[in-house]
Amino acid sequence: MAYDSFSVLKSSAVPMPIENVDTDQIIPARFLKATERKGFGDNLFRDWRYDKNDQPKQDFVLNNPTYSGKILVGGKNFGSGSSREHAAWAIYDYGFRCVVSSFFADIFRGNAINVGILPVQVSPEFLHEIFTAIEKDPKTELVVDLQAQTITIVATGASESFAINGYKKHNLLNGFDDIDYLQAMKSEIADFASKR
C-alpha cells in the first residue's frame, strides 16, 4: 500500500557529480519537524538550492531549467550519514523515482526502496558515461527496466545490468511493502518470540 509500483522508467536525468552526498544535504535537520509525510520536496537540498535569504542559487542543478527528469544521478557514496527516511521522502516528493550512483550508503538504499525509489548501482565507468551523455545533451534519456534489471543510455545504446534481490524486486514491481509481508506472518513471529 505504501507506494506506486515500478516497472520501466524512461526519463531524462538530473546530474549531481558530487561524492559523499549525505542526508544532511538532502534534507537538513531543521526541516525534520513535520509529523506527516508531506511537503519534504520543497526542502530537498535546501542549503545547496537556496541562499540564506531563501533565494534560489542559480548555479545549483535543481535551479537550472536545462536539467529535469525523474532520475537523479549522483556521485559515489550517495546518501551517507543520518538514517532519516525524510531524505528519501524529499527525493520522492520532488518527483524523482530513481537514483543512480556508483555506490550507495546502506541505510539510504534501504529507505529508498521502502518508499518506492529504485536505487540503481552502476559501475564507476558507466556512471561516468551517464554524466558524459548528459553533459553532451541535457535531454538525453535513460531507460531503467526493473524486470530486466538494466539501465540504458538511449542515445548511445550503452547498457548495464544492476543488482536487486528477488524479494525487493517483486515488491517494487507490484507496489507491495514489507509491512504487508510481516503482518501475514505474525503468528510465526509470536511463536519465535515466545521461545526467547
Binding site: D24, S83, N165, I179
Partner: protein
C-alpha cells in the same frame, strides 16, 4: 556444523532470524527498540492508516532528545513544530502503552545514553532505533543499528525488520595508546584510514587490547562512530568490564535471571579461527589526538599534521576542493592555531560522564577564552547528576563554563543550539557535514580533550600541552 568456529556477530545474528527469504532479506527479530520524537510520528501514523497496533509495546522505549531545548526545560517549548513532535511522542507512547521518558523526566536524555545507563541495552540483544548512531549499543556485544521510519513502523507492528545479513569485518587495534589519545581519536583515526564508505555493507567487530582495555563509555564512543565509515554497526565482545557496568542498573536482570543471562553472555565472543570477509589491523602507537578539517568524518588527521593535498586523497578533486572551500581552509594548512568560535561538548558520541571528566581535567585551573562560546551539554539527567556529584560542575563554573540540560543539542542543531554561518566549532559530536550544526556552520570534530584545549586557548591546540 555446530562446532565450527563462529564470530560474535554470527552468533547474535543467526539466533534472531525468524525466517530466511530465498533471494531476499532475513526476517530479523528485534529485542529492543528505541524511538524518539523525530523519526517515529510518521510510523505511528502508518499504523493508524493500516489499522494495526503495536505487537510488543514492552520492547519499545521512547525518549525525547533530538528537538529538545537545553535551557529552561521546565518551560513550554517555544518552537511550535518541536513542541508538536514532543507532544506526539507522548501521545503515541501513552496510546500504545510504551514507556516514555519525556522532557523533565529524571530518566530523560539522548537515546543512546539512556538505554545503556538504565540497563536496557544488554549483550546478545538486537537493538534498533530510527537513528544511525544506534550502533553505539554494539559496545555491549549487541547487534545494534539505525533504521528508517518505514522500519520503525515494521518493528512497532511486528517486532521484526527485513534485513539482508551484512558482511563481516574485524578491526584490530593493539598496543599502547599515547598520552592524550582517547577512544574518539581511535575512531576518527580508523575512519580517516577507511573513508566514510570503507565499511559500507559490513558489520564491524572491534578487537584487540586497545578495546579490551577501554571503559564502557569509551567502547560506546567507538561503536557510535561505526556508521561514519559506512558500517551498519560495530560491536565489541562483552567481558567483565561490560558485566560490571550492567550489574545493578535499574532495568538490568537481577537474581537468578542475572546468573542465567551472565552464563549466556560469556559465550558471546568470536571463536578462534572464525573467519571474516575483511580483517584490518592498526597500531595504537600510530594514533595521535585527531581533528577533522573537511566536511565528512573521513577527512580527519593527527592534530599536528597538515591538511593533505587533493592529489594525496582518494576520490574526486572537485569534491575535495568544494569541501575545503566550504571550510575556508587550504591544502597544506596546519590546523594548530586556527581560530575557534564555538566549542560543543556533548552528544551520543561524547556526552557521557567520562567525557566531562576528560574535559574538566584540562580546563581545571584555566579560564574559557573570552571569544569562545561554549555549550556543555550532558547526555542525560543521570550524567548531569554525576557531573554535579563528582565536583566537575564546580571546575566548569570556576573556568567560566555553564552546564546546560541534556539533549542532542548542537550535534544536529534541530533546537536553538545552532552554530552561526561561517563560524568554526570544535565539536565532540559525530558529523562535520556542511550545515550540520546550523546553516553555514564549520565543524571540526575532535575529542573532549581537544575541545577543552580549544575552549581555553580560543584556537586549535594540541591537548598534550596541558597533560
Amino acid at each position: 556444523m555446530s562446532n565450527s568456529p563462529t564470530t560474535l556477530f554470527d552468533k547474535v545474528w543467526d539466533s534472531h532470524v525468524v525466517r530466511k527469504i530465498e533471494d531476499g532479506p532475513d526476517v530479523f527479530f528485534i529485542d529492543r527498540h528505541f524511538i524518539h520524537e523525530v523519526t517515529s510520528p510518521v510510523a505511528f501514523l502508518g499504523l493508524e492508516q493500516r489499522g494495526i497496533g503495536v505487537m510488543y509495546p514492552e520492547r519499545t522505549f521512547a525518549t525525547a532528545d533530538h528537538n529538545t531545548p537545553t535551557i529552561n526545560q521546565h518551560l513550554p517549548v517555544d518552537d511550535p513544530l518541536s513542541a508538536n513532535q514532543l507532544q506526539q511522542l507522548a501521545t503515541n507512547s501513552a496510546k500504545y502503552g510504551i514507556s516514555h521518558w519525556g522532557l523533565g523526566d529524571p530518566k530523560n536524555g539522548i537515546v543512546h545514553v539512556v538505554g545503556p545507563e538504565n540497563g536496557i541495552t544488554l549483550p546478545g540483544f538486537t537493538i534498533v532505533c530510527g537513528d544511525s548512531h544506534t550502533s553505539t549499543h554494539g559496545a555491549f556485544g549487541a547487534i545494534a543499528f539505525g533504521i528508517g521510519t518505514s522500519e520503525v513502523e515494521m518493528v512497532l507492528s511486528s517486532q521484526c525488520i527485513m534485513q539482508p545479513k551484512p558482511k563481516k569485518m574485524r578491526i584490530n587495534v593493539n598496543g599502547q595508546l599515547g598520552k592524550g589519545v582517547t577512544p574518539k581519536d581511535v575512531a576518527l583515526y580508523i575512519i580517516s584510514k577507511l573513508s566514510t564508505s570503507g565499511a559500507t555493507g559490513y558489520f564491524v567487530e572491534y578487537a584487540g587490547d586497545v578495546f579490551e582495555n577501554m571503559t564502557m563509555e569509551g567502547r560506546m564512543t567507538v561503536c557510535n562512530l561505526s556508521i561514519e565509515m559506512g558500517a551498519r554497526g560495530g560491536m565489541i565482545a562483552p567481558d567483565q568490564t561490560t558485566f560490571d557496568y550492567i550489574q545493578g542498573r535499574p532495568l538490568a536482570p537481577k537474581g537468578a535471571d542475572w546468573d542465567t543471562q551472565l552464563a549466556y553472555w560469556k559465550t558471546l565472543k568470536t571463536d578462534a579461527g572464525a573467519s571474516f570477509d575483511e580483517e584490518i589491523n592498526f597500531k595504537a602507537s600510530d594514533i595521535e589526538p585527531m581533528i577533522t578539517y573537511g566536511t565528512n568524518p573521513g577527512m580527519g588527521m593527527g592534530i599536528s599534521k597538515h591538511i593533505p593535498k587533493a592529489s594525496e586523497v582518494e576520490g574526486g578533486v572537485a569534491t575535495y576542493e568544494k569541501s575545503l572551500d566550504y571550510m575556508g581552509f587550504a591544502e597544506n594548512d596546519s590546523m594548530i592555531g586556527k581560530k575557534v568560535d564555538y566549542v560543543f561538548i556533548g552528544s551520543c558520541t561524547n556526552g557521557r560522564i567520562e567525557d566531562f571528566r576528560a574535559f574538566a581535567s584540562i580546563v581545571k585551573g584555566h579560564k574559557k577564552a573570552d571569544h569562545v562560546t561554549a555549550w556543555v551539554v550532558p547526555g542525560s539527567h543521570i550524567v548531569e547528576a554525576q557531573i554535579k556529584e563528582e565536583g566537575i560542575l564546580d571546575i566548569l563554573t570556576e573556568a567560566g563554563f555553564v552546564l546546560r540540560q541534556p539533549g542532542c543539542s548542537a550535534c544536529l542543531a534541530m533546537n536553538d543550539d545552532k552554530i552561526p554561518a561561517g563560524k568554526y566549532a570544535v565539536s565532540t559530536s559525530n558529523r562535520n557535514f556542511e550545515g550540520r550544526q546550523g546553516p553555514g556552520s564549520r565543524t571540526l570534530l575532535a575529542s573532549p580533550l581537544v575541545a577543552a584545549a580549544a575552549a581555553i586557548t580560543g584556537v586549535v591546540t594540541d591537548p598534550r600541552e596541558f597533560l
